[in-house]
């Protein structure tokens, strides 16, 4: 990555608001995301963090506001003015989306290898041997044994499914990955392994990440920057360790003080 790339934001979010009828999903959110930066959005259920994530990832159109993304050619494009074909290409090449429930992000009735290879085939890879080599490589990187390559994800444990989902997303070397509670619903030990894997992959690949979580420990381990949401508003934002160690807003102080100490 050149220094010029590093000095321009990858994603620019301006005054994004989403209403559900009369109710507010998220309100007037603005921020920049920089290359290689991990931004965590925290808040309790119903705070609007998932609404915001869906708006950012073009899965849900905002009521007002603009979201611009720096394409691989360097041009900033308004995501909601992209054509459907462009948007799909973006989502399967330059972006990733890791769902909380791995079944939402995987094809459960095709093999692990095909799950990883699908994006490659979608962008025109037509050499079976190459696809298989890539799939093998990525299964290895997410610590799934090579002899599971022809097994369905249905036979995988929750942690393995989640790692498979990550491999499936990263195989096209995306620049931006959205994650929705990627460790939710996993055992603590499985969570720790997944977090460590994510942390290393994000650093090695220089990924930009927007991660939604209600778990402050996940935010501390993975993110550079933190956004605290409450009732649709961003109430506090800053360096992750600054917000967690020196929380300013009453709600953030409550969140931080609610962490169970082990």
């Amino acid at each position: 990555m050149t220094s010029r790339d590093r000095n321009e934001p990858l994603l620019q979010v301006r005054n994004v608001t989403r209403y559900y009828g009369e109710r507010i999903g998220c309100s007037n959110v603005s921020f920049d995301l920089w290359p290689g930066e991990v931004l965590a959005i925290v808040g309790e259920s119903g705070s609007g963090k998932t609404t915001l994530l869906n708006c950012l990832s073009t899965r849900l159109a905002p009521t007002t506001g603009a979201i611009e993304y720096r394409m691989r050619d360097g041009a900033m494009r308004n995501l909601y003015q992209l054509g459907e074909a462009e948007r799909r290409l973006l989502m399967r090449t330059d972006w990733g989306f890791v769902h909380q429930n791995a079944a939402d992000g995987l094809r459960m009735n095709v093999s692990a290898g095909a799950n990883v290879g699908e994006r490659l085939m979608a962008v025109g890879e037509r050499h079976y041997g190459n696809i298989r080599t890539s799939a093998n490589d990525w299964l290895g990187r997410v610590e799934i044994a090579g002899d599971r390559i022809d097994d369905d994800p249905r036979s995988f444990s929750g942690g393995m499914r989640q790692r498979l989902q990550i491999a499936r997303n990263l195989v096209t070397h995306p620049r931006l990955v959205f994650m929705d509670e990627p460790t939710g619903g996993l055992d603590v030990s499985v969570q720790a392994r997944l977090l460590d894997l994510l942390r290393r992959l994000v650093a090695d690949l220089g990924l930009s990440v927007v991660i939604v979580t209600h778990d402050l420990a996940v935010a501390r381990l993975l993110s550079h920057r933190l956004m605290v949401m409450r009732q649709g508003d961003v109430i506090e934002t800053g360096l992750t360790d600054q917000v967690l160690d020196d929380p300013r807003e009453p709600y953030t102080q409550l969140l931080v003080s609610s962490i169970l100490q082990v």
């Binding site: 800053g238 360096l239 360790d241 600054q242 160690d245």
Partner: protein, 239 residues
């Protein structure tokens, strides 16, 4: 020697919303500067705000009032001057990578990463290759008497003292023009204290500006060029 760090009228208080909005003043009117190659030690009893000052310089605590100016870069003249009190998060992250180091007592262990890689990480982040980083990490671990059989193991299971020394090695490995020392010698034995003193001397010779909190009287006497009494920075004055 040029000034590396300058705190100008810095003030800090905590508002405890969970306790009825009680405001706890920490420090006020903090003003001092640190030159390249100088080690300044913050003095005063516990609770005087020494640690808060270090954390503000590192960007870990917010600075409510005043300016914290640092000169970036490694050269004699330094690069630009940045006010940490108002800097963007990504600017602070950049400063933590190339300008300000922090040696603390507590290691935030990272699962499944070996001790030598934990130590090498800051140097690698500054652009060194992995072999170079590992070599220097081994050298430091060896100087700090961490047994060689532990180097390739993740430090999560090490004893408290071993973890502390791993973290000291991690703090000293990279070149930062400004280094913050947060009780680096607490609970170390005499031999390892002496190693830390030597490491500090070496950094001084390289022109590193240091701010430290050191309760150990002997170590303090050996490395401090100046001692600043934090109790003189009365928060009440700021209020």
């Amino acid at each position: 020697m040029p000034v590396r760090l300058y705190l100008n009228n810095v003030g800090k208080s905590f508002t405890m919303h969970l306790q009825g909005g009680a405001v706890i003043p920490v420090v006020g009117n903090v003003e001092f500067s640190v030159n390249a190659g100088e080690c300044v030690v913050l003095g005063g009893p516990s609770g005087a705000g020494k640690s808060s000052i270090l954390k503000m310089i590192y960007g870990n605590y917010r600075c409510d009032e005043g300016q914290i100016l640092v000169t970036t870069g490694a050269g004699e003249a330094g690069g630009e001057i940045v006010n940490i009190a108002g800097a963007e998060p990504r600017r602070i992250l950049q400063l933590r990578q190339d300008t300000i180091g922090y040696v603390s007592q507590f290691l935030r262990t990272i699962p499944r990463v070996s001790a030598e890689d934990v130590v090498a990480e800051p140097l690698v982040a500054q652009g060194a290759n992995e072999a170079e980083g590992r070599e220097k990490a081994r050298e430091l671990l060896s100087r700090l008497n961490v047994p060689e059989r532990l180097w390739t193991l993740p430090p999560a299971t090490f004893s408290g003292g071993e973890q502390q020394r791993v973290n000291i090695a991690r703090g000293f490995i990279a070149h930062y023009p400004i280094l913050l020392l947060d009780e680096p010698t607490a609970s170390l034995d005499a031999a390892n204290r002496a190693v830390v003193v030597r490491l500090v001397e070496e950094k001084k010779a390289e022109g590193v500006a240091m701010v430290g909190i050191l309760h150990d009287q002997d170590v303090r006497n050996e490395i401090a060029d100046r001692i600043i009494d934090v109790t003189s920075f009365h928060a009440e004055d700021a209020a």
